[in-house]
Amino acid sequence: MTYFPEEVVEHIFDFLGSHRDRNAVSTVCKAWYHVERLSRLNVFVGNCYAIRPERVMARFPGMKSLSVKGKPHFADYNLVPYDWGGFALPWIKAAVRRSPGLEDLRLKRMVVTDDDLDLLARSFPNFRSLVLVSCEGFSTDGLAAIATYCRGLRELDLQENEVEDHGRQWLSCFHESCTSLVSLNFACLKGEVNAGVLERLVARCPNLRSLKLNRAVSVESLNEIVARAPYLVDLGTGSFAVLDCIGDKGLAVVASTCKELQELRVFPSDIYGAGATSVTEEGLVAISSGCPKLNSLLYFCYQMTNAALITVAKNCPHFTRFRLCILDPWKPDPVTNQPLDEGFGAIVRSCKNLRRLSLSGLLTDQVFLYIGLYAKCLEMLSIAFAGDSDKGMVYILKGCKNLRKLEIRDCPFGDIALLNDVAKYETMRSLWMSSCDVTLGGCKALAAKMPRLNVEIINESEGTDKLEENISDLHKVEKMYVYRTVAGPRNDAPDFVWTL
C-alpha cells in the first residue's frame, strides 16, 4: 500500500468513517500518518485535558469539525464542584488562530461563556453547526451573538444545558436573510421566545427538518409552526422521558405495541419511596419480551430480581447500553435475598456487544469476575455501592480489554486495586473514584509511576491550601480523577484540585 501515490491512499482513507479507524491507520507508518493527518476533517477529542488544543490543530490543519468533551460524567450528578474546569475558550481561541475554516463545533460538559460564544460567532465565516450538550456558563446573550453573526448557520442544538435567561430576544437576532436553518433545538431553555419571531423564522427556512422547542411555546404557536414547516421530520419539546408512574402495567402496554422499540428510558418520579404505580422487575421483563430490538436501556426502579435479569438477558441479547439503577443502594433480590451478581452476570454473558453498563443493587466481587470474563466489548462501566474487596476492581481492569471509562463511587476498592496494573490506565480515557478506599499515598504512588497520567485529587474540605502539608498518606481521598494525557498537568486547575 505504501507504493500507492498519496492521493490514492487519501482516497482510500475517505472511506474510513470513525476516528478510531483513522487513528489506527495513522500509526501504520510515517507516510500514512502524514496523509491521514492532512486529510482528516472531523476531529474528536474525548478529554479536553488529554492534549493541548494547539497541538490538535497543528496536526490536523484541514479540520472542519471539532468535538470536545470536558468534565467527567459524574459531574452530571453534582459530584464535581462547579469551577472544576473544562473551559471551551482555549479551544475556540486555538481554532480562531489555526482553523478559521471551522464549520462545526460540538462541546459536551464544558464551560462556555457568552464571550466565548461571541468570539466563536465572529471568527468563523463558514460556521454551520453548534451543538452544546450539558454545558454551562452562558446565557441567552451568547445565543444572541450566535444568531446575529453566524450567517448561514444550519444547526443550533442545545441539549440539557444550564442557560441563564437574560430576557434577551435572542431568536429575533437571526437576520431576516437567514434562511439556512436545518435543525434548531432550544428545548432546555426556560425563558419564552416571541411566537411571531419563531413562526417567521420557521417560515423562511425551507430546509428546516428538526425543531425542538421548549415548553414555553404555546399550542397555538405550534399549530402555526407546523403549518409553515411541512417538511419537518423531527418535531418535539425535548426528549420524551417515561416516568415510572406508568407502572409495570404501562410498560406492558409499551411492550405489546412498540415492537420496533430500540431505546427506552424510565425515570423515577418519586425518589423518596415506591409509589403505588412505580416500576419493578416485571415491567422490565415485559419490555424485554415484547421489544426484541431493544438495545439501549436506562431503567430506574425500586427492586430487581436475578430471575428477571436472567430472563431479560435471554430475551434481549442485543443490548449495547444497559443501565439499571435500583434506587436503594445495596438492595438485594427481594425474593431470594441474594446479591444480583447472577443477574448481571447473565446480562454480560448474553449481550456480547455490550459497550456500556451501569450496575446497582447488592453486588459482591463475583459480579466483577463475570464482567471481566465476559464483557469483552465493554467501554464504559459505572459502579456504585458495590463489591467486597480490591479483587472486584482488579477483575475489571484485567478482563475488560476495551475499557475506556471507569467510574466508581462508594465501593471498598483501595490502593491495592488502584496500583495493581498501572499501565492499564494509559489504555483508557479516564478513571473516577470517589468515596472509595484509595489513600493519598496510593494516588501519589500512581502519579509517580505513570508520568503520562494526570492524577487529580478533588479536595473540598475547609482550609484546603494548607492541608496538603498536614495530610498523611494514609488519608482516604474523597474524589480522584485519573486520565491519560500528553499535555502534562493542567494550568487552569482551581485551588481544590491537586495534580499529584
Binding site: 453534582n78 464542584p81 462547579y82
Partner: protein, 193 residues
C-alpha cells in the same frame, strides 16, 4: 452546581398518597460520605456495613437535577389539576333549594361572600364577611338583629363553625359544606366555649 443542592435543601416535596413521610434532602455536605468519622451520619455505615435507614446521598440517584426539577414541576402541575374543584353544598335557611360553590375559585372570604351574595340575591344576605369582620358578626349575632345572616360551615370534624375565624386556606381545606343561617339562630354560635 452548588446552588442546586442548596435549592434542594429548602425545597418542599410532595409525596404520593400512601407513601412514607418525606425526608427533606440534606444540604450538600462535602463530607457526607466520610466514613472514618461519622458512621452515624446519614445512616450509612460505610462500605463494610449496610444502611439501616434511607437517607439523602449526594449525587444519588444518578439523575440530573435539571431532570428531577422538571419532574417535580410536572408532578405539582398534575396535583394542581387534580385538586381544582372543591365543590361544597351551600344551603340557606328558607331557600327552597341548595347551591354548590367551588371554593378553589376564590381567594378570600370577601370573594366568597360576594359570590354567595350574588347566588342568593333574592334572600338578602346582609353584611359581607372578611376575616376581620368576623368580630362584627359576633356582635351582630349577639345583638340579635334578625335580618342579618351568618355564614357558617361544617368542618372535617362535623362541627358547625362560623366562617371567618381562621385563615382562608385553612378554611378551604377544612370546609365540607356551607350554611347561611338566620341571625337569630347564629347567636348560639358565639357563645363562649
Amino acid at each position: 452546581m452548588e446552588d442546586h443542592d442548596n435549592l434542594k435543601a429548602t425545597e418542599l416535596t410532595l409525596g404520593l398518597p400512601g407513601t412514607d413521610a418525606i425526608e427533606k434532602p440534606t444540604p450538600a455536605a462535602p463530607n457526607v460520605n466520610k466514613r472514618s468519622k461519622e458512621e452515624e451520619c446519614c445512616g450509612f455505615t460505610g462500605s463494610s456495613g449496610r444502611p439501616a435507614a434511607k437517607a439523602q446521598v449526594v449525587g444519588w440517584p444518578p439523575v440530573r437535577s435539571y431532570r428531577m426539577n422538571s419532574f417535580r414541576e410536572r408532578k405539582t402541575e398534575k396535583k394542581e389539576e387534580d385538586s381544582t374543584g372543591i365543590y361544597v353544598k351551600v344551603s340557606m335557611d328558607g331557600a327552597p333549594y341548595l347551591r354548590k360553590v367551588d371554593l378553589g375559585v376564590y381567594n378570600s372570604y370577601e370573594d366568597l361572600t360576594e359570590a354567595l351574595d350574588a347566588m342568593f340575591k333574592g334572600f338578602s344576605l346582609g353584611k359581607r364577611i372578611t376575616q376581620r369582620q368576623a368580630h362584627d358578626l359576633h356582635r351582630v349575632a349577639e345583638g340579635g338583629d334578625e335580618s342579618e345572616h351568618a355564614i357558617t360551615y361544617e368542618d372535617k370534624d362535623g362541627d358547625w363553625m362560623l366562617v371567618g375565624d381562621v385563615p382562608w386556606e385553612m378554611f378551604v381545606s377544612s370546609c365540607k359544606r356551607l350554611r347561611i343561617m338566620k341571625g337569630c339562630e347564629a347567636r348560639g354560635l358565639t357563645s363562649s366555649p
